[in-house]
């Protein structure tokens, strides 16, 4: 929240001296280990269930619980890739996966670019209303996006008029990628501006000043100096926003609709639950397809993600 800044990662604890280690062992006794193992098992079971079910043939899924697979894990009839083939082709999940990419990547890059320029201006440029405008951004951090859905949808489908004069043209953005990029950019901006301004504002002013003296203009300072220095903060927000947009159902459902060419994986999942609610072999493989990329991003960039969350904010 407001005190949060993107911090350096906590230093790895130095190897403890002999005495400490013995003591640590005493404190980390059986109670600690057993509690942790129990919680880990509880937390892992659901994901394990999806993973196992998604690789089992339809018959097996319908006649035995997924946990029974442990009784004969190497049975030849126990495993199949067929579910994934069907989910990708007939379930439209291949298509939905591509759409999710087309929604998520720009929806991550656009707010970051816009926010970085704004954060630079809020930190290092003089203009009227600088403080008040930033306070407004802080206030917008927690606005529930439910507040924005109806007006934006109407803006997209019929434009807006004020006192009978058109102030926003009808661009029929409903159902288009541009429409959802802008919506996600809008909802993600307050947090992005807030985090990046905290970071960019705390860069040493001597660097900026000396670049100015060397004759660099604002655009050059921003692009050549500030952006490279802000990579940790940018990465943290990027991962946060990526996972958020990829996993979002509400905005995608509202702006891209519940069916059609452009639906994303979360919406496709919901459709599948509605239309083939009992076909667990398909539901689970579809669910796993939707999880694959975020899990990959999460494991690859965990360090940054955790840092971004620790810097986290209350987002609307």
């Amino acid at each position: 929240m407001s005190s949060a800044t993107v911090e350096a990662p906590p230093k790895a604890p130095a190897p403890a001296p002999e005495g400490d280690q013995l003591e640590a062992a005493g404190r980390g006794g059986w109670f600690v280990r057993i509690t942790i193992v129990v919680i880990v098992i509880l937390w892992t079971i659901p994901t394990l269930g999806v993973l196992i079910t998604s690789f089992r043939p339809e018959d097996a899924v319908n006649t035995s619980g997924w946990w029974e697979v442990f009784a004969h894990p190497f049975g030849a009839t126990e495993w199949t890739l067929e579910n994934y083939r069907i989910a990708l082709d007939q379930g439209g999940f291949g298509n939905a996966f591509l759409n999710s990419l087309a929604v998520t990547i720009p929806s991550t890059v656009i707010p970051i670019t816009i926010a970085a320029f704004a954060a630079y201006a809020f930190s290092w440029m003089e203009f009227r209303g600088r403080y008040v405008l930033f306070v407004i951004v802080v206030g917008l951090l927690v606005v529930p996006l439910q507040m924005a859905l109806i007006p934006i949808l109407r803006l997209y489908t019929q434009g807006a008029t004020l006192f009978g004069r058109e102030i926003f043209p009808d661009l029929s953005l409903q159902g288009t990628f541009l429409g959802i990029w802008l919506a996600h950019a809008g909802f993600g901006l307050p947090l992005a501006v807030y985090l990046l301004r905290n970071y960019i504002g705390s860069l040493p002013s001597s660097i900026i000043e000396s670049a100015k003296i060397d004759g660099a203009d604002h655009f050059t300072i921003f692009w050549r100096l500030v952006v490279p220095l802000s990579v940790p903060a940018i990465a943290a927000f990027a991962i946060f926003q990526f996972l958020w947009v990829w996993n979002d159902l509400l905005v995608a459902y509202v702006f891209l609709g519940g069916a059609g060419q452009n639906i994303v994986v979360t919406v496709a999942l919901r459709e599948l639950v509605g239309s083939r609610g009992e076909n667990w072999h398909l539901l689970t493989s579809a669910a796993f397809i939707s999880m694959a990329l975020p899990l990959l991003v999460f494991f690859a960039l965990q360090k940054y993600f955790v840092r971004g969350l620790t810097a986290g904010a209350v987002k609307g």
Binding site: T47, L140, L149, V314
Partner: protein, 359 residues
């Protein structure tokens, strides 16, 4: 003179050209029959490259201004797009939603506070408000408690702390929609003669010689079962943030307490918890706001939320907007949600101003 004219021409032509190219690609993206790979590729290229080019073009355009005004205009080029988007996508909608909430189903005429009267009298709405109250109390409570205990314990592991933490954290990367399907494998129920029960809980019930239970139709407990899904997702977040806070407590303080003979539980209660209290407050607030807006978990359930009594406020809003086509009521529900977060908004701004005063 001619050179200057040429420069002006080029500088005007570049933004115009980029803008028309962008516009043309958007038209292309509307084409339903185009090859998906190309559409997606173009979408990503335009979405990613387009924004930067627009800024670059605008910056070049500002260079043409007379030197006197140039530098007072430039900040607005940097901050302008951000302000425009915030105004269009957040500020305008907030005002507009309040207006719509005072109008009828099709936003034709004003109906006063009728929609709000509906929000606080309709039986499903009242149940949704009660349920949401349960969500915002129980989910943060459970997630923060488990997260705090886990963070404290994992901190004492000599090996495997990172692995232990990422396993708890992993559900954070899964969507609510995916999580709902995941948890069906725990809660699923099938009546006699419709295949064997594939939900783990009913598997256990049968193993214990009991009748299988329709967990998700078991009112009012089914709400609790859905909350478990949210707790499962959010605990990792609480744990990671709290763990970072615990690690920042100076070792000397804790060691000193131990030397003075404090038990481990006393160290936890009297030193750790008070030291990280500000972080606990922030994490809890975040979770309360998230639970207030919970929607996906309930919305993805195959059975109707009304008959199961699992309705929540944010889900009601989408239902009234899309399926029951009543703009006024949907907007009124959104306004109620907004009113609930206003205290947090004020608190945020106040804290920010205090910090700025110190800076």
């Amino acid at each position: 003179m001619l050179v200057l004219l040429l420069r002006v021409l080029v500088a005007v032509a570049v933004p115009v050209a980029t803008f028309s190219i962008l516009w043309w690609t958007f038209e292309f993206l509307r084409d339903e029959n185009a090859n998906r790979f190309i559409v997606v590729g173009v979408a990503i290229a335009v979405g990613v490259g387009g924004v930067f080019v627009l800024y670059w073009g605008m910056n070049r355009a500002v260079d043409l201004f007379p030197a006197r005004v140039r530098e007072s205009v430039r900040p607005y080029v940097f901050v302008g797009p951000c302000l425009v988007i915030l105004a269009v996508f957040l500020v305008y909608p907030v005002i507009n939603t309040v207006l719509i909430s005072l109008k009828d189903a099709n936003s034709q005429s004003f109906v006063g506070l009728d929609n709000f009267k509906f929000v606080f009298t309709d039986s499903d709405m009242l149940r949704a408000i009660r349920n949401t109250a349960g969500w915002i109390i129980l989910v943060p409570l459970a997630a923060v408690t488990i997260g705090l205990i886990y963070a404290t314990l994992a901190d004492r592991l000599r090996r495997g702390e990172a692995v232990a933490k990422s396993l708890i954290f992993l559900p954070m990367a899964i969507s609510f929609a995916g999580a709902s399907i995941t948890w069906q494998l725990i809660y699923s129920y099938r009546p006699q003669g419709f295949g064997s029960n594939i939900g783990l809980l009913n598997g256990i019930m049968i193993g214990l010689g009991q009748e299988p239970v329709k967990w998700l139709e078991l009112q009012p407990w089914n709400n609790l079962f859905l909350m478990v899904i949210m707790v499962w997702i959010q605990t990792g977040f609480a744990m990671v943030v709290l763990s970072a806070a615990i690690k920042s407590i100076p070792d000397e303080i804790i060691e000193a307490a131990r030397i003075d003979g404090a038990s481990e539980f006393q160290v936890f209660r009297r030193i750790m918890v008070p030291s990280i209290l500000p972080t606990i407050v922030v994490v809890t607030t975040y979770m309360v706001i998230n639970s207030l807006k919970v929607f996906d978990i309930v919305f993805v359930q195959p059975a109707s939320a009304e008959t199961n009594g699992t309705v929540v406020v944010a889900e009601r809003m989408i239902r009234w907007f899309f399926q029951l086509n009543h703009n006024g009521r949907a907007a009124a529900i959104a306004v109620v949600l907004f009113a609930a977060v206003i205290p947090v908004m004020v608190w945020n701004i106040r804290r920010f101003r205090e910090e700025e005063a110190i800076r």
